[in-house]
């Protein structure tokens, strides 16, 4: 390839200037891009409006394609189901009988649970849902793992809400448009989900590893409390995710940590359920939190006669540096001479 002529503008001064200003624009644009990035890092919700609008424009394209993909996979599933109909029927009958036995046990346990809760006076927490939507796509080239959801703020979806499927937890909402939202999957490196093992209740934090698996971090040192095959459910700590949502299964043990895989595969599930934040105070701004009772302001000590140093305020157990202003009507003490 010959070096391009456009980069050698000859003797034309105008062409030189054009080339020069082109580079000025390019480098200036890069500086702007760095500023945009810094703002995105410091305040991830800063460009929510712009990104939400872009999401609204692009999500319908993915949604349309998704139905095509589902149609074709549906054909494949239908054919294989037809071929295996006989054996599948027998297997389903066996499963159904087992499931009915399990269901009866579960109903008995549910009734007992309700009675015990009533005895303890615990409020029943209704796991209500905000909306049900489809997962229509995901990032596939970036190190971030995010999925696109076909419902947005028009359906009541807000940033921070947990998203789950019937099979298990998926993640939480990070961006919303009017008709689409972006979900940070559990497997993203920035996702932390408090979980506990069903077998013995060991608490852990499930941190995404970016490759479809999760790392379980515990506080225990020396021994690994997990075994291969352990099921993990959300613990409800932190107030974002509701407790007892199935989350992951341990697939292997690596020294002090355990590697788990989410139970809900976003590529396979049909519908995702958006739920409200479990305890709204956890996600809300600080001003909305109930006011804490504070000690009454400390009355200023009376002016000491003869220029003696007044007793130190810090000696008073009710002393609070932020409330040092004297109460209205109280005499203002003279400043101690320095």
């Amino acid at each position: 390839m010959k070096p391009p002529a456009a980069r050698r503008p000859g003797f034309s001064r105008r062409a030189h200037y054009g080339l020069f200003f082109g580079y000025v624009i390019a480098i200036g644009g890069m500086v702007v891009a760095v500023l945009l990035l810094i703002i995105s890092i410091v305040d991830p919700r800063g460009y929510g409006a712009i990104k939400g609008a872009a999401l609204d424009v692009t999500a319908p394209i993915s949604a349309g394609g998704r139905s095509v993909v589902r149609f074709f996979t549906g054909i494949g599933d239908g054919i294989s189901a037809y071929i295996g109909a006989g054996s599948q029927n027998a297997a389903l009958h066996r499963d159904l009988a087992a499931a009915q036995r399990g269901l009866m046990k579960a109903q008995a346990a549910e009734a007992e649970n309700r009675r015990l809760r009533a005895l303890l006076g615990l409020a029943q927490q209704a796991p209500d849902e905000i909306t049900v939507a489809q997962i229509v796509g995901s990032t596939f080239e970036a190190p971030r793992r995010m999925a696109t959801l076909s419902a947005g703020s028009a359906a009541g979806v807000r940033v921070g809400q947990p998203v789950r499927a019937p099979e298990g937890l998926i993640g939480r909402v990070v961006e919303t448009g009017r008709w689409a939202a972006r979900v940070l999957l559990m497997t993203d490196g920035a996702s932390n989900v408090p979980v506990r093992a069903v077998r013995d209740g060991t608490p852990a934090i499930a941190v995404g590893r970016g490759d479809g698996t999760l790392e379980l971090r515990t506080l225990e040192v020396g021994s690994n409390p997990f075994r291969r095959g352990d099921i993990l459910v959300t613990s409800g700590i932190g107030g974002i995710f509701p407790p007892n949502v199935p989350a992951a299964r341990v697939i292997r043990i690596e020294g002090d940590t355990a590697i788990a895989r989410p139970l809900a595969d976003p590529a396979r599930i049909d519908f995702a359920i958006v739920q409200p934040v479990y305890q709204p105070a956890a996600a809300g701004p600080l001003e909305l939190a109930p006011a804490q009772p504070v000690a009454p302001p400390v009355a200023a000590p009376a002016a000491a006669p003869g220029g003696r140093t007044p007793p130190r305020l810090q000696a008073d157990p009710r002393y609070q540096p932020a409330l040092q202003e004297p109460a209205p009507g109280a005499p203002v003490p003279p400043r101690a001479p320095r």
Binding site: K2, A5, Y23, M30, F140, A142, T148, D188, G208, P266
Partner: protein
């Protein structure tokens, strides 16, 4: 279609095709990010960047470095990345390509592939590092399959772009 344009409309259409094919194919590659496929791990190459650098290496004269700026903005919005990420990395890549072109008098297909491999590697490192800054603590090993696949996908992209370029310049 005759080789000589018969009317001014035909000339206009050919001129439009001449101008619009590179941009349109790059935008099409960017919008491949909207494919309704949910991936568990980063595996597929960033098609937008791949087609962009293929056009840039094949036809250095059609785009200036600032073209990458707004194309990067489009990619950031479509693919849902941090705003400014592709703007920065794509424009930076174009400026480096300009530098390479001033130093290097001549490059053949293998040199193009080598340069593209370097660009894809540093681009992926850049996206990984920006994700790290944004709190996504992922090991770099996770990105290696994607880098390998991107480098292997360059010849395919090069043939595709070459075919488009022939059609663009055909009479």
């Amino acid at each position: 279609m005759s080789r000589i344009a018969g009317s001014s409309t035909e000339v206009a259409i050919r001129d439009l095709r001449f101008r619009i094919v590179p941009i349109a194919s790059t935008l099409g590659a960017i919008s491949l990010a909207l494919t309704p496929v949910v991936m568990a791990a980063p595996l597929l190459p960033d098609f937008g960047f791949l087609v962009l650098i293929t056009w840039r290496l094949l036809r250095p004269e059609i785009w200036h470095a600032r073209t990458a700026l707004w194309l990067g903005l489009v990619n950031d919005l479509v693919a849902g990345q941090a705003l400014g990420q592709s703007m920065l990395l794509w424009t930076g890549a174009f400026l480096v390509f300009d530098l390479i072109d001033t130093r290097l008098g001549f490059r053949d297909y293998l040199m193009d592939w080598l340069i593209a491999a370097g660009a894809l590697f540093f681009y992926t490192v850049g996206t990984w590092y920006i994700a790290l800054l944004m709190g996504s603590d992922v090991r770099f090993m996770v990105m290696l399959p994607q880098i390998g696949l991107s480098i292997l996908a360059y010849p395919v992209a090069a043939r595709l772009v070459l075919a488009l370029d022939r059609w663009r310049l055909s009479r």
